[in-house]
């Protein structure tokens, strides 16, 4: 029913029209093929698109894929579309993101406990920026909201899945004071992601 070329073309059309990250199993379901076939199609598209000169790159974000512009061309794109430069995230925002990213899904109360300060405003603005999202509620008195990171978060931090986060500083951090070898350990770990 689908030649391979058509399958790739349809996946390309869906990802392109979607704008947002589109789940690969969604594409598989619509095209009536296995997820594996979509993964292969996406890999072929990535070969085609992800060259240093290409204007468009195809990113894998978790179980989804999304087209975006080649970062090398951000300046002309911003200029042509009158896009504002993103203001860098504040220290508070980075800390909240880090706590959520490594512990998700988490409540705001958890984040506040780690940071020792109220985080409502920061969490709200990260949700608004599309970096955090609500993930249901915790079945505890008060049914607090749970938060997790978004696919947009993955894109902004150049991760293809949340597993690709740099190893949490937790383990090595605790050893820090004890054996003083954490730097070496960290670097070997980081080199895997560099």
């Amino acid at each position: 029913m689908n030649t391979e070329e058509q399958l790739i073309g349809k996946a390309e059309a869906i990802l392109f029209a979607g704008g947002e990250p589109v789940a690969l199993d969604r594409i598989a379901q619509v095209l009536g093929v296995r997820v594996y076939a979509v993964e292969t199609a996406v890999a072929r598209l990535q070969e085609k698109y992800n060259t240093p000169e290409s204007g468009v790159h195809l990113l894998l974000l978790g179980d989804s894929a999304q087209f975006c512009t080649n970062p090398a061309y951000i300046e002309p794109v911003r200029a042509a579309l009158d896009l504002k430069r993103n203001t860098p995230l504040s220290q508070a925002a980075m800390e909240v993101l880090a706590v959520v990213a490594y512990n998700q899904p988490v409540t705001k109360a958890f984040v506040e406990q780690v940071r020792g300060v109220d985080c409502s405003g920061v969490v709200g603005s990260l949700v608004q920026k599309g970096l955090l999202e609500e993930r249901g509620r915790l079945e505890l008195p008060g049914r607090p909201l749970l938060y997790g990171t978004t696919e947009n978060f993955l894109r902004c931090f150049q991760l293809s899945s949340i597993d690709q986060l740099p190893p949490p500083p937790g383990e090595s951090g605790q050893e820090e004071e004890e054996d003083g070898e954490e730097e070496e350990g960290d670097q070997t770990k980081l080199s895997l992601y560099g």
Partner: protein, 251 residues
């Protein structure tokens, strides 16, 4: 004077401030000299006060907490009692990791890709589900039941304000008699079903009153269930009937 020259840092919170003090004084986080840390912490709070900074309540809570830990550590302790400083150590370690993770994340941050808005494709609205045709009958019955509830005023009902349409009582007397002529009796409310504007409804109501008064009709029953019955001709008395009815009778 020394204190005033000390450049006041901006801290993310009390934990951030404590970590800075720990680092500055090379304090062993696993064996916190609580009295010394408390003193330095209070010094910082004092500096913030002098600089007229808003001191968030979290800073004061932490001060209270440090005082509490200090008090506990002065009391004699049993072997099995937990070191009161342990929780503080835990908090500081956790926050330290948080800061490190935030730093590692920042290095990865790249806000230099632009995505595309979703393409605006016309949706396909055509309904394709299959239903049992009998659902229509059930829905029809449900719909008829609902007509009894009050409609919001229709735009036409306001037209009376602009151009009052006068419905004469006489014409509605004829209408009521005609309806009853065929059936002899009918539900009172049914008389009003076709009359949508207020003027016609009032005219029908007045016509019913007149016909009752002239004993051409009788209203039986109560409330929503009441019915109107046409009375036999011989029971009426010509002299009581209003002129309009007489005119009708003459036909």
């Amino acid at each position: 004077m020394d204190k005033l020259q000390y450049k006041l840092e901006v801290f993310e919170g009390p934990l951030d401030m404590l970590l800075a003090l720990v680092a500055k004084n090379k304090i062993d986080i696993y064996d916190i000299p609580i009295a010394e840390l408390l003193e330095q912490y209070m010094e910082q709070i004092q500096l913030m006060r002098e600089a007229d900074l808003d001191i968030a309540s979290e800073f004061l809570e932490m001060a209270a907490r440090l005082v509490y830990i200090k008090t506990l550590s002065l009391l004699p302790r049993q072997e099995e009692d937990e070191d009161p400083r342990l929780e503080l150590t835990g908090l500081l370690l956790e926050y330290q990791q948080c800061k490190q993770a935030a730093e590692a994340l920042r290095e990865r941050a790249a806000f230099d890709t632009v995505t595309r808005p979703a393409e605006e494709l016309p949706a396909d609205y055509i309904y394709k589900r299959i239903h049992d045709p009998r659902e229509l009958g059930q829905a029809l019955r449900a719909a008829w039941g609902k007509g009894k509830s009050l409609l919001p005023p229709k735009p036409e009902s306001f037209s009376a304000l602009v151009s009052a349409r006068i419905v004469s009582v006489a014409s509605q007397t004829v209408y009521v008699l005609r309806r009853l002529w065929k059936q002899g009796t009918m539900a009172y409310q049914a008389l009003f079903r076709e009359k949508t504007d207020r003027s016609a409804r009032i005219a029908v109501f007045l016509a019913v009153l007149e016909l009752v008064k002239s004993r051409r009709i009788r209203v039986e029953g109560e409330g929503g269930g009441c019915r109107v019955r046409l009375l036999p001709r011989d029971k009426t008395r010509e002299e009581d009937a209003p002129k309009s009815i007489q005119a009708e009778d003459g036909i």
